[in-house]
């Protein structure tokens, strides 16, 4: 895995523990890069490297020369990767045969934070890479959705050693993983109208065929792909689950299993995935064209405030929390290297993703994140997948029309929220939505008002205690107040 190097020093394992390499102290091993013993990702400063085993190095040399790979790399669909002279870089090889350097991914994200369209496009890119590789007698040896990352709204494949020569008679080893991490989650949303993200977050290896089969009704068996990819696969896996059975791989090779079979499967999967769309979204889709309570003049006033604040300097990383369809993410993007736009509403993120995909900006990454239940650190040693705050902290954070949801909907104390923001070391553009605002009144209408802390004076006091308030302005005739406050 190619990960940001914002990992805490104390959580890292010394490189020599696993690789036999004596590591200079500034090297940090990526804790998520352990499954394939043919490589190991590590960081030095802002740079991302990968050790390669003799076998992986041989594969890489072949891949590097392959026209299909050169084209994909030039198009930015696989991460830019170069061979490194380890000695010139002062890197000890130990048992490794070589080192490559990868271009850095601006912000690591995981499939359980992607919208449907993002997972679908990542799946289609994976199948496209499979198709290209097969034509060159190579294959992707695994199909982990975590091997896809994003440059803005463009998917990028990062696991270069996954490309291997295709052995004669070999099946597609990653087929099952493709189903578990791409196809089944997409089917869940498309066929059942079920949010796939909790399923992916709940299990690092994705949705097993057996579980997926259990979720399918008789009617679902008629839907494209279910009979074969779900029902048949679950039944066959069950039939062979006891272990001790004969090795089917050899039998397949012997019977003449060939590349053409994999190609056909890949082509059919591409058509299947290409047609999947999220269920029950037609009616609610249009609501996203108008999702705020501002008239145009007030909205422009708010946009101007955000733009003035964002323009005070250049920001490396900005977050837009509760971004909705990204109106203000686009403003922040004018003055930032990269903006991570987060919202708990997946349809808002889907809307933003589709719009940015057809647009010109290249530096906005939309993610489905509910701040009150944000992605945790999980997987092996709780370090394989990192919490959202462990992947690079923002220099600027927008919290617009958010605070009332945090305090009233999610019951998070205002003081807690402000001190959490301060702990990120970020500057903020933050909007306080007053009690007389219709949005707050809607939230309060069905619950007991226990929110003694939810008052403009308390809010300002808390903000001033943690940040330096640079400017502020009333909005919506005084019902709301917007602040620009810098980190202390």
């Amino acid at each position: 895995m190619n990960e940001l190097r914002s990992l805490k020093k104390e959580t890292t394992v010394k490189v020599e523990d696993l690789s036999g390499v004596k590591a200079p102290e500034q090297i940090e091993r990526e804790p998520g890069s352990y499954r394939d013993r043919n490589g190991a990702v590590f960081y030095r400063g802002d740079r991302v490297f990968r050790y390669l085993s003799p076998r992986a190095l041989e594969n890489w040399r072949r891949l590097e020369q392959a026209p299909f790979f050169q084209r994909l790399r030039a198009e930015g669909r696989v991460v830019d990767t170069q061979t490194i002279d380890a000695r010139a870089e002062g890197l000890e090889l130990g048992r490794w045969a070589g080192v490559v350097e990868h271009a850095r991914i601006p912000f690591i994200s995981y499939p359980y934070e992607w919208s449907f369209g993002m997972l679908k496009d990542a799946a289609l890119l994976h199948l496209e890479l499979m198709r290209e590789a097969l034509l060159a007698d190579m294959i992707l040896k695994d199909s982990s959705a975590y091997n896809m990352q994003w440059e803005g709204v463009r998917p990028v494949f990062i696991d270069i050693p996954s490309f291997e020569p295709l052995g004669s008679g070999e099946p597609w080893v990653g087929y099952r993983q493709f189903c578990e991490l791409f196809l089944y989650p997409l089917m869940l949303q498309a066929y059942k109208g079920v949010d796939f993200r909790p399923w992916l977050r709940g299990r690092v290896d994705g949705v097993p065929a057996e579980d997926m089969r259990g979720l399918m009704s008789s009617r679902d068996l008629l839907r494209p792909g279910v009979l074969l990819h779900v029902a048949a696969q679950a039944a066959l896996q069950k039939r062979y689950s006891g272990g001790g059975q004969k090795n089917v791989r050899g039998a397949l090779a012997e019977a003449g299993f060939g590349k053409a079979l994999i190609q056909r499967n890949v082509d059919k999967l591409s058509r299947l995935v290409g047609k999947l769309e999220p269920a029950n979204t037609k009616t609610t889709w249009a609501d996203y064209d108008r999702t705020h309570s501002y008239d145009q003049a007030e909205l422009n006033k708010k946009i101007d405030f955000v733009r003035r604040a964002a323009a005070t300097r250049h920001w490396r990383l900005a977050w837009d929390l509760g971004c909705n369809t990204g109106t203000f993410s686009r403003v922040a993007a004018e003055h930032s290297d990269y903006v991570v736009a987060m919202d708990g509403d997946w349809m808002a993120i889907e809307h933003l993703y589709r719009r940015e995909k057809n647009g010109t900006s290249k530096n906005i990454l939309p993610l489905v994140v509910n701040l009150a239940d944000a992605s945790p650190s999980q997987g092996w040693r709780n370090a394989e997948r990192k919490a959202i705050t462990e992947r690079g902290k923002p220099e600027l954070t927008l919290c617009l029309a958010l605070v009332h949801h945090i305090v009233i909907s999610a019951n998070i104390p205002l003081a807690d929220f402000i001190s959490w923001l301060a702990s990120l070391g970020t500057s903020v553009v933050i909007e306080f939505v007053g009690r007389d605002d219709e949005m707050v009144q809607t939230l309060l209408s069905n619950r007991e008002d226990q929110y003694d802390d939810y008052h403009p004076e308390i809010f300002r006091e808390l903000l001033a205690a943690h940040f330096d308030i640079q400017s502020e302005e009333p909005l919506k005739g005084g019902k709301r107040q917007i602040y620009f406050a810098t980190a202390r």
Partner: protein, 89 residues
């Protein structure tokens, strides 16, 4: 009901192909899953049918005692063992 029967029947029929088939080692850090590998024959369309036919024919020959084990199977076995040895060394 019919659907359920159909959906279970055909993978089981498919799995019959592999009863008594020869073995060989394989190297990949990821387990392809035996059931998922067998399914790939079905997913291979016409080419897959040809392979299924070949496997049935092989089983038929074994059943009537004409053939015990395909000679290629033994070769495949040796090949993969030596490959594994190389990787391990």
């Amino acid at each position: 009901m019919h659907l359920k029967l159909g959906s279970n029947l055909f993978p089981l029929t498919l799995s019959l192909l592999f009863v008594g088939i020869s073995t060989s080692g394989a190297h990949a850090y990821l387990d392809a899953g035996t059931g998922s590998m067998i399914l790939q024959v079905m997913l291979g369309g016409l080419a897959g049918l040809a392979i299924a036919g070949k496997l049935y024919w092989h089983k038929f020959l074994m059943a009537i005692g004409v053939r015990r084990e395909a000679p290629q199977a033994v070769e495949t076995k040796k090949d993969s063992i030596s490959k594994n040895a190389q990787v391990d060394s």
